[in-house]
């Protein structure tokens, strides 16, 4: 009986701590993905300046160089854009959903503005759009970086404390 109680208590603390730690991990992953997205947009700018590949081609190239969810995001965009009946509006949302990319609302908005209108402008206009999106992502990344460590620690401690609190209440 004592053994079961101990096991139950451990489960309560661990599950609660797991929620806190996974929230913290998600937040750290969001920061990493945002940095990788910024790097990808920088590469996209270089690709456009160098050879002006089409929407589908540049996204395919980025999907090959990026990793994880960012790679899947560009791969989803490339798949969509290679279809001649491709409808750009909504493409970002579909790609984010398919890739599992974690984005803050402001970062999502910046990407949506970039990719849902991609290819409508000449090269100068397109590069300007890219610059704006990169700026917005940099701003977001900066804010996230400032908050990440403190927030992550809070989530982890909250998870542990919540577990401990539940344990005390139950016992």
């Amino acid at each position: 009986m004592q053994y079961l109680r101990f096991l139950g208590a451990a489960f309560v603390v661990l599950s609660s701590a797991w929620v806190g730690f996974s929230s913290a991990r998600r937040l750290r992953r969001a920061g990493r993905e945002l940095d990788e997205l910024r790097a990808a947009l920088e590469q996209m700018e270089s690709e456009l300046r160098c050879a002006s590949p089409t929407y589908a081609a540049v996204c395919k190239r980025l999907s090959e160089t990026a990793t994880g969810a960012v790679s899947q995001f560009f791969s989803a965009l490339a798949d969509d854009a290679s279809d001649p009946d491709f409808e750009p509006v909504g493409a970002t949302r579909r790609a984010v959903e398919r890739s599992g990319l974690i984005l803050q609302p402001a970062a999502f908005l910046a990407l949506e503005q970039l990719f849902d209108g991609f290819g409508r402008f000449d090269l100068t206009g397109q590069l300007r759009q890219l610059g704006l999106a990169r700026e917005a992502l940099s701003h977001q990344a900066g804010r996230l970086r400032e908050q990440t460590e403190a927030k992550c620690r809070s989530y982890e401690i909250l998870g542990l404390c919540a577990g401990a609190a539940v344990l005390i209440l139950v016992v």
Partner: protein, 300 residues
Amino acid sequence: MEMEQRYAALTEYLPPEVRPALLDLFERRGGEVEELRFRVGCPVGVVLGGREIGLRGTEGPIQADGAMLADLLRRAAQHSRYAVQHQLRRGFVTLPGGHRLGVCGTAVFSGGSLENLTDLQSMALRIARDCPGAAEAATNLLWSHPASALIAGRPGSGKTTVLRDLIRQVSDRFGQRVAVVDERGELAACLDGKPQLRVGRLTDVLSFCGKGEGIELLLRSMRPDWIALDEISAEDDLRTILQASYCGVRFLATVHVLGPEDLRRRPLYRRLMEAGVFENLICIEADRSLRCERVEYAVS
């Protein structure tokens, strides 16, 4: 790529409302379809054997409107206007497969040069065709007298088709290196570096480059036996051809003429003929047969 596949690939780039009717037309009269014409407020036109007729869907003629033209351009540009802006400045976009979409609308100027076309009014889609053997008679002339050849014909007479076949034959049958300045991407229609139209195994293609720059680049980098280019139309082209001809390279080229007399009447063509570069003349007749002749130059 087989013709049926090429037509099917082409229709993917066309607005959905014209696809069924066009696929049906390609199935019935595929080889005859030369052009598609889209004009705002008018039925979509199809040019068959030089005559334009309206394209009919199941519910009568298919009307073109501004949205259809904008959609067509978006599809032709593969949703990447920036990627075709240099072509658009010259009034056309080349689709995968070598089909050329001519664009007409309101010109937007910036700094004195044409920057863009807006308020699209009409579009003409010329369908590229691969006709192996189209230049058979001309090949025989070149075989007996392997010197530079000029292909002359009316607009839409099939000069590009003949030139493409000539390039293929010189490359495959003569076993000589041909470098192509494919200024509008129509001759070889390269996609990911691979020609979509048959231009021969010893052919090097430089796509979307001006003739003058292209000739110089190819001479420096590819050491060709022949250089092929479509539509000589400017003084600069003539000057570069002349300079390059001193390097021992031979040319395959086309010119727009309404009749053989244009070659003597128009100053640019007269100078071209007087320069003595082209020793073979291939005229495309009204019935699209080839009249091949040697050009005799007086030795001074």
